[in-house]
Amino acid sequence: MKRRVYLAAISVLITSTAPAQTIAITDGTVHTVGPNGTLENATVVIENGRIAEIGTDVDVPDGSILINAGGKIVTPGLFSPTGQLGLSEVGAVDGTNDAIQRGDDFSAAFDAADAYNRRSAIIPITRIEGVTRAAITPFADEPDELGNTSRVLSGLASVVQLGDSGDYLTRRGAAVVVNFGEAGSSVAAGSRAAAVQQLRTALTDAREFGQNMDAYDRGDWRELSVSRADLDALVGVLEGESSMIFNANRASDIELIIDLTREFDVNAVIIGGAESWMLADELAAAGVAVIIDGMGNLPGDFDHLNARLETGGLLADAGVRVAFGAGENTHQARNITQSAGNAVANGMGWDDALRAITLAPAEMYGVDSEVGSIEIGKAADLVIWGADPLELTSYPEQVLINGESIPMQSRQTLLRDRYLQTDSDKPPAFRN
């Protein structure tokens, strides 16, 4: 009985909000992750899918759809900072995986966003847990059956919104992904130094190209080491328009990244960063951000010898921008809350941890003017939580993306509901 009442309440929300409507969420404990901090008994007004007002003394426009949060916690939508949502349906089914480019192309320009499938069954599974935006990141992997290998550069990462309507892309080509450390060694010439050399050559050529583009296009310039498309992608990095994401874990690789960041003046983000806590101050000084797996504390390889659970807190305390991956970042992107919660258990401030799964990744991909916090003018990605969002026993009661209440339903909830019906005489296939 309890369940029926609950579902009925939610269905009101589902049918009542569309992007163009004015919505007011009232009586929320609103963690804005913005200048307004945390507000009790607060109201958030949404107009045209964007946040129009926030405060404890807000006039709700006439005709607004009202959602009473009943004192519950409201946060910005969560932001998965890495992974292959929409690029991978079933890990071991090759035809459903589109995040790896192998072969001869030097793949700075490989644009996986063109393979994005917004109708993936994984997306509703993820968003009903509060994740509203995700970076989709190409990556390097083992050679395929024909011996084609991944490259030092994996291609372009983009940011997507997980709602059903509107443009799925928040930002195309927000970063170029680079493989350093053991991953870089395996795709370069057997040494991580070779990966560094390839990147340095490509960036140097791209800088030359950027300064002599007209001559290059006229054919009055020497041939450069990578294709025109790759040069364009790298010029974006050199001009600060997009970030450069480095897969790296060992402290020595991280030191090298800090040096490269200064040499080429790029906005660097490290994914992995197992030993990043050893260089927290240096990373802060260089403005290099880190996406960590908050639960990785074992030396999975020699790049992870000093992995530990306190990394998130140590980095945040030093002033490093931190975001959390979830270990397996596609199907389990929803578990970024677990990473954040474990970081808090191991010394990170709660507000820092919430920032690490909302605003911090938005900043890393240059979309923080659009999403990541509850601020006037930003997209209305909001989550109303039953309890503390970092607790695993807690769950979202409603998720809004661009001001639209998404159906709190997924392929998994359909399976659940089918097999909850134990009183049926019919086989499961007939329980609809």
Binding site: A92, L392, L420
Partner: protein
Amino acid sequence: MMKIPRCTTVPLSAVLLLAACERGVQYDGPAPYSSHYRPLPSEATILKGATILTGTGERFDDADLVMDDGKIVAVGTDLDENGKVVVDASGKWITPGVIDVHSHLGVYASPRVNAHSDGNEATAPNTAEVWAEHAVWPQDPGFVTALAGGVTALQILPGSANLFGGRGVTLKNVPGQSVQAMKFPGAPHGLKMACGENPKRVYGTRGVAPSTRMGNVAGYRSAWIDADDYRNKLQSSEKGQDEAPKRDLKLETLAGVLDGEILVHNHCYRADEMAIMFDIAKEFGYKITAFHHAVEAYKVADLLRENDTCAAIWADWYGFKMEAFDGIRENAALLDRAGACTVMHSDSAIGIQRLNQESAKVIGAAARVGIDIAPERAVRWFTSNAAKALGIDDVTGTLEPGKMADVTVWSGNPFSVYTLAEKVYIDGALVYERGNDDVNPVTDFTLGTSALHGGAQ
């Protein structure tokens, strides 16, 4: 050929003694490959004023726990503290030590370099002759990080490349110099079997059987026919009716299953495959102790209950391969509701550190559909039910008097993400205390790194 001498054995160690007996050799000391585990020194201890989940489904608030001589003495209020080390546990929660039925620590040790890849003898679809314990590297830092997650016992299994992967071994999580020093005294061996995609992929891509699920099933049945034949010959020879067959390590393991001395731990994802495996067990007269991974167990929860077979599962892994596509977070909740033996397992050096958190995910998912799971119920998934699946529930897995004092003290409710294991006792000895370098083990491999204790500080 020499006849096998008759040996008097206790059931749990029968398999170990068989090896000595069959060679006609009598040993003065312990049988080869037997446990050399000795508990660390302990003192009579009282933990006072805690919330205690006993693993039997009960909860005591503001209660005490007394341990002495390595055993649980009592759980209750106002217990006598005379002559005991008194530990203030107010505000803490106490549970039986965490037990993981599915680990590859030591056989896929950190660092995960090729030289440490010892979990899958993927050279033939039936390698029932191999034993995981012959490859366990006790210096795996993962044992220590698991300890920091409250884990007191764990089963190390071979991988799932083969139809029959070999024998698993249950360990006390007290890092020792050899696997024998960690073996859980008296614990039965497990036999790892695997359904589905893995065996048919590993061998099918090499152009040998099995390449289909049909081939998988034919492989199991053929092996059981051989095992049955071997067992009949052994039994005739014991009656003096026939010569003993030459020892066969593979068939010895399978015969141990038919004798009920080795427990079947069957990697199996899909509901329909579990139903087939039950028929094979019926055909050859053995019991499936547990299905592992079992992401679709919720679809056949009644079948599992009727066969008294546990489902050892993750909270939420899904989607990484086709047979894992239908995984749901409510799996454990639906199994538990149906009265099936529900076990939370890890299959992961990271996951083993947080079986409490994995269970918390299920509690949250179940609450969404109005199924309320109390902490004293969920704790059974990684304590008493896990002990049952390993055949050690008569000696550990709950806080009942007389059982081994395998105990975890948590900083708070173990189903909160903010809670950490603070103290871990194994056989009454304090083996781990958060932040106390004088107590905590450090593996040889971890020495010299900045993140001592494998990162669990």
